[in-house]
Amino acid sequence: MRVVRMLHRAALAAFVLLLAALTLCALALTAQNGVGDNRMLQVVTLARHRF
């Protein structure tokens, strides 16, 4: 069916855009683990990459 095909295409195009945005963010940023007061809680801070 043409409508379903169009839906597939639109969804895949949206996924490409979203995943590309995620990749660009991942290239620029990282989430660094840190040690907080409470070791039961994982603590992270966003930082720029140092390649």
Binding site: A11, L12, F15, V16, L29, M40, V44
Partner: protein, 358 residues
Amino acid sequence: MEILLRLFPGLNLNLTMQLVNVAMALGAAAAMAALGRTIFEDSRILRACEAAGLLVWPALLFCQQVYGTIPMLFFVSLAMLCYAKYVKTRRRALGAAFACLLALAYAAKINAAVALIAVTICSVLDALENRKLEPLAYAALAIALSLLLLRAIIWQYERRSGVTLNSGIGALARLTMGMQEGGGAAGWFNRYTERFFPLEVTARQQHDIALADLKARLAEMAQNPAQTAAFFREKFCSQWMEPTMGMLWNGARSEHTGAFGEAAARFFAKDHTVLETLLGAFQRALYAFSVAGIIGMLRDRKRSGLCLLLPLVFFGGALYHLLFEAKSQYAFPYAVLLLPVAAMGICRIEDGLKGKRA
């Protein structure tokens, strides 16, 4: 686990479950490789998946976490494989198998609802495209079995113990916590839900308190759009860009009393480590190859509706954890489920390079 303990009294259940996790993690990796080959009909995907899987060897550390994550991932990956094979062959046994496996995954961890919704969406599109009701029937069976199995497990414990279990922490309380600061990063677990643990707190009280807190937080967010945007940016990036995906922080050995606890604290006290660099590089490669994989699908005129399955699960998970409680360990199952798409990307890049050389 209860049956095992009855058969072997004195068995160390914690260690047994960690060993079961190892077996299930390997099973999930094999199922994902088979799923990639089934969806994309390319035998190279199998090897590419195995190679990509080897790069995440520290993921085996996840097996020390006695939780529902690895069992859920195992059942979800098998359910996806059965669903893909059902769509290809239309064998009814495979339809029933994916419904049962999704129910088991939901019983292991209700986050499997993301995969359940993705399969339902694919089934609706499949039914529309092929003008058949059968895919819809199996999706409905999967939903019904998921709800019934979880209810049945709770019911048999209540019946045998004579104690009525309360409903636990509801989705609304988790949503409210997901909108708050004060945890490991924006929207992360911050112990907000622990106030609802006492048995005296009724489900009604929990609902009313969580709703009032959520409304207050949403009003605060509406007044500060820039801060709200920064909150969601930090929440999203902190979950999906943490290179270890929590695998060194969580689990029997890594907790504050565990053998790895001190080592993990020393590890993260350092500014930057080789392991984090390697895992970060793999994470970026996984996302980049996945983009190439989805572009490959988009360009493939003979693609089937199955191509939507794994991207739908990934983005369902991203959306769910953007709203509800966040932790980097929650990204792990979705990263594994993205492996076949990344493997497809590797094959498409290889095709492109060969084409240029030829």
